[in-house]
């Protein structure tokens, strides 16, 4: 968590190798991400899912084609296997009725859910969520947060979520870290975070509420 410009999304982009750190290192599953070759990085990313702030669906592909894309491009599966997997993940995010729709025909919340299905379809071990509640009304934001929690519990994946919403963090987090100006302020389990003595924690929570 952290205010805008704290460097939250930048951390996610370092974890998945979209950015290289100016200094220091990033270790994921025992590998130093900045030192990976392009092929090794592709291999690492196969174990990771990423939900973009604005879903980043490919506009000219239907819901089905968007979710099937990583399978068609990176896995050797038969069309029927792809069909089964895509339908399964779309059911998980409750979008099974909109297979043939295009992103422009979907609301922001629905696009997020399709983006989530696309992130899940390759069975990732780690999922990164970049402000899943951004641009959604409070009701839809809560619904997406609950879905993230449910998927985490059902699929047993490690999830790292970037948010500036305390309501979202309360729904989905086991541990919370607060960032400011590119630096870690504090990090603790959800309950302990509330009573963290650092002055920025109470200030941030006050503003967030």
């Amino acid at each position: 968590m952290g205010p805008s410009g704290a460097g939250k999304s930048v951390i996610l982009k370092h974890i998945i190798g979209l950015l290289k750190p100016d200094a220091g290192d990033v270790w994921v599953q025992g590998k130093s991400v900045p030192d990976l070759t392009p092929d090794e990085l592709r291999g690492l990313r196969r174990n990771m899912g990423y939900l973009f702030q604005h879903a980043a669906l490919i506009n000219w592909l239907s819901v089905f084609e968007n979710v099937a894309l990583p399978l068609k491009e990176t896995r050797e599966l038969s069309p029927s296997q792809i069909q089964d997997k895509v339908e399964h993940v779309l059911k998980l995010v409750r979008m099974e009725g909109d297979l043939q729709k295009y992103p422009a025909e979907l609301s922001g919340g629905m696009q997020k859910r399709v983006g989530l299905a696309r992130a899940l379809v390759t069975d990732p071990r780690i999922i990164l969520y970049d402000e899943p509640e951004a641009g959604l009304d409070p009701e839809m934001s809560t619904s997406v947060s609950r879905m993230i929690r449910r998927l985490r519990d059902e699929l047993h994946t490690t999830s790292i979520t970037v948010t500036h919403s305390w309501a979202c963090a309360q729904l989905i987090a086991d541990r919370v870290a607060l960032f400011e100006k590119g630096a870690l302020v504090t990090e603790a389990p959800l309950d302990a975070f509330l009573s963290d003595p650092h002055p920025r924690v109470s200030e941030f929570l006050g503003q967030s509420k």
Binding site: R42, R45, F52, H54, A56, L69, E73, T74
Partner: protein, 249 residues
């Protein structure tokens, strides 16, 4: 556009040519966009260019009583210079700008980043079918432009210069008699077609490279599109001179 990145991208496209079969759906769509959707513009412009050349050169030739040679001049000018050049400009302005805007929009909306994160090969998925389609479409449109341009020149030869159409056509066909020593085809034809292949390839590479480097939202996409068209046209003009010099020798 960064010139070094353009050269790098061109190399990446060559390496991925074997992927083209997998990309046949996008490839066919791009052929349609670059070919069928641009055909009427190419034909119309080619026809009028032929008429302009015939009118301007024909009126000068008629002062010296040489107007019966207008067919040869129109067909040579159309095949070697005007048709490849004008077709390339049309493709840069219509198809190249659309490519830059499309990829630029994808870039600023994080769709390119999403493809990267999903381990999708962006060059193979997006760039390869566009580049190959435009490279193939360009000589086809050029050939058609030569044909309608020569026809347009004939209309002027008949209506303004008082020539008969069969004489004009016979004179125009003599342009095909000059066979090259290295390539056993009419020089006028192959020099124009080779130019058009290079122009199509360069336009597509410049447009894709510009699009993939777009930043700063909608304003950045506009800037990217403008610079893609500008850079393509500059490269087409410079290459036109050097290729013309090289191919005729």
């Amino acid at each position: 556009m960064n010139g070094g990145y353009g050269v790098f991208l061109a190399g990446q496209v060559f390496v991925r040519i074997p992927h083209l079969f997998r990309r046949r759906q996008t490839f066919k769509e791009q052929l349609f966009l670059g070919g069928i959707k641009t055909l009427h513009v190419s034909l119309l412009v080619g026809f009028f260019i032929g008429m302009i050349v015939s009118l301007q050169v024909g009126l000068e030739l008629s002062k010296y009583g040489q107007q019966e040679n207008i067919g040869l001049l129109v067909s040579i000018l159309m095949a070697r210079e005007m048709a490849p050049f004008v077709t390339a400009i049309i493709l840069a302005a219509s198809v190249g700008s659309a490519m830059a805007a499309e990829l630029g929009t994808m870039k600023v909306q994080e769709e390119i980043t999403a493809l990267d994160v999903l381990s999708v090969d962006v060059v193979s998925y997006l760039v390869l079918p566009r580049v190959i389609a435009l490279t193939l479409v360009s000589p086809i449109l050029t050939l058609l432009s030569v044909w309608v341009g020569t026809l347009g020149g004939g209309v002027i030869a008949v209506t303004q210069l008082g020539l008969d159409f069969s004489g004009y056509t016979h004179n125009a066909m003599t342009a095909l008699q000059d066979i090259g020593s290295t390539i056993p085809l009419p020089v006028s034809l192959y020099s124009g077609l080779i130019k058009s292949i290079v122009f199509g390839f360069v336009t597509a590479i410049v447009s894709c490279a510009s699009g993939l480097h777009a930043t700063n939202g909608a304003q950045g996409v506009g800037q990217t599109t403008r610079s893609a068209v500008r850079d393509s046209i500059i490269l087409i003009i410079v290459l036109n001179f050097f290729l013309g010099k090289f191919l005729l020798h």
